[in-house]
Symmetry: C2
């Protein structure tokens, strides 16, 4: 039966315990105001490339980042019935292991409490203490499995420090697969600033945000694929941010490069591996945060219309004109769904919410 609910699977919050951490810091990531520009108010600076006076430093940060009432008001204004919130990047990999474990626990409990106070409207992807040992991380995964409003975990691309193709992650992937928690894979570090050239800051934050993020994601998921993560964990499910980075578009090239690689052939790695199409259709879900029908259709072609999930990326990308109550970023994403699949079709309803209800087991 078709669900008419709209579910936002890509929506972030910093709960109070995490805000306290950010405010206590003076290097990236941090939240502070700048004496040389007091009118700019509090700024959230999370990327090294934003931490320079030559561009707007970071972004304004207000209660939309940490106040659950703001999240609910945003949902109401945009006809969103359910939000599956996740901590925004950069998560916890910059903390020392003990602090990371303790913070993960606090953040997840904070968020669980928020969800339970707004029953049926809020669910969550939990945060892992990915700076310590795999053992600590597995312990939090097992704890998260018992939190009734949690439906998986959010994860960056750094893993335990050397990427998602690190064999040391196997116990973590195993625990996630075992408890069938969805991994929401989300970029944070982008690419080294050198690749954007010496004029990058002329273009504001466009290059690191528009390209750095999805290209980081694409590299991370391709490394997972090539290292055989899904051969070893065939039931590990991953929701990839921003419609897969660029994975749907590049999947053909990736497979062709694999099939033409003499080194992989010599190592016997071309036999009995699961290819990218298999993984796209059986292990990967894609959010629909892509801002145009061209990309959205490619994502659906690659993974299937039953595997795309609407998202907003709130509270990032607010309208530049504060008087606009409907956010352009949200409008672009919902318009892409309508433009690609029609106004009132089963497919559009599935992407806008039905798929998320089913995949995350949310109550009707």
């Amino acid at each position: 039966m078709k669900s008419a609910k709209v579910v936002d699977v890509h929506t972030h919050m910093y709960p109070p315990s995490y805000m306290d951490l950010l405010r206590a810091r003076n290097k990236v990531p941090y939240v502070r105001s700048f004496p040389d520009d007091p009118a700019a108010g509090d700024r959230l600076v999370i990327l090294p490339a934003e931490d320079t006076t030559s561009t707007s430093r970071g972004r304004p940060i207000g209660p939309e980042y940490y106040d659950v009432e703001e999240k609910l008001a945003f949902m109401k204004a945009h006809d969103i019935d359910v939000s599956v919130i996740s901590l925004a990047n950069p998560w916890l990999d910059w903390l020392d292991p003990a602090e990371a474990a303790e913070t993960a626990c606090k953040v997840n409990d904070d968020v669980e409490r928020m969800c339970s106070e707004h029953e049926g409207k809020l669910y969550a992807f939990g945060t892992l203490p990915l700076s310590g040992s795999a053992g600590e991380v597995v312990k939090e995964i097992e704890r998260l499995a018992k939190l009734p409003h949690h439906r998986g975990i959010v994860m960056g691309t750094s893993g335990l420090g050397s990427g998602l193709d690190d064999p040391a992650l196997d116990p973590i992937y195993g625990a996630l697969e075992q408890s069938q928690q969805l991994v929401f894979l989300h970029p944070h570090y982008g690419l080294p600033t050198s690749v954007f050239g010496e004029r990058a800051s002329d273009y504001g934050h466009v290059l690191p945000l528009a390209l750095g993020f999805p290209l980081e994601t694409t590299i991370a998921v391709t490394r997972m694929l090539l290292s055989g993560v899904w051969d070893r964990f065939p039931k590990l499910n991953v929701l990839i941010a921003h419609s897969g980075g660029t994975l749907p578009f590049l999947a053909g090239r990736i497979e062709s490069c694999v099939a033409h690689d003499a080194h992989l052939k010599k190592q016997g790695k071309l036999e009995s591996r699961r290819d990218v199409w298999d993984v796209l259709k059986n292990n990967i879900y894609l959010d629909a945060v892509i801002y145009a029908d061209v990309g959205l259709k490619a994502a659906v072609d690659a993974s299937g219309a039953d595997r795309l999930l609407f998202g907003t990326d709130h509270p990032f990308f607010p309208p530049l004109d504060e008087s606009e109550s409907e956010w352009l970023s949200v409008k672009l994403n919902s318009k892409a769904v309508r433009s690609a699949f029609g106004d009132n079709t089963e497919t559009a309803a599935a992407i806008m919410g039905g798929n998320a209800m089913r995949i995350l087991g949310l109550p009707e």
Copy 2:
């Protein structure tokens, strides 16, 4: 009227003058055999990431790289009527300016001669001496405009040393626009190896080739767009390798990031700029070297079916099994066209050759 000819717009050769250069060198780029592995024969090493004993060093190089008879035999075996050949990367930016100018002249004359010896079968994109002054480059552009088998130029992403958003390139863009020579934009440097992580060489050359190349291209073309190249040169036409890198997929995100950028707004840069969709449909052509229908359809959605042009990337990506006379890499690309647009449709015929005939003004 529908053309039944098949035209390959993405096909490389090293003419004799360039081979001599590569053989005389002992650092990247170079051609040589290795005493520790004589069975491997001559190897072509063009990427720093390939220049290591931990992977297969570079790739075997034989006459398919420099012998025009091999090109013609490949065309015959794959039912290709016309090839528009270009020098393979890395072109000339590693030479000193005087040597670059002289080499460009030699290479272009070598290639022009090859084409004239096989009338109607071979055309070319010329090579520019992009290591010297804009003046030298403009001179070669003007000379190329008079060579009867040349139809444009091939260009990497480095420009005059600091990328394609360098204002110093304006005289070059102006001369290309003025003489209506198509720019074939092709990657070479990929991304810094650090982004592929410490296990990258376990995956042969897959990460730099499958991801590094198209991601480099995407960054380069986005920098052109953001720096206003197409605002200043509204008739500059660019054919982007590998179906635009990932531009068709990311176009929506690029536009959204621009529309949400406070820095660009403050500078008044959001007004009267040409957006990526406008440029994709009026200035950009895309080759169809994408190896799957998912990406091909997205490229067509972004640019239009009248702007996609079949290509092979020959002689790169030969079959691993030498007994295969039909190349898998070619088969994947032609199959993608058939799978997306049918076997005998106008659209398929246009992509396979008709578009190239019209756009490049090739005689029937």
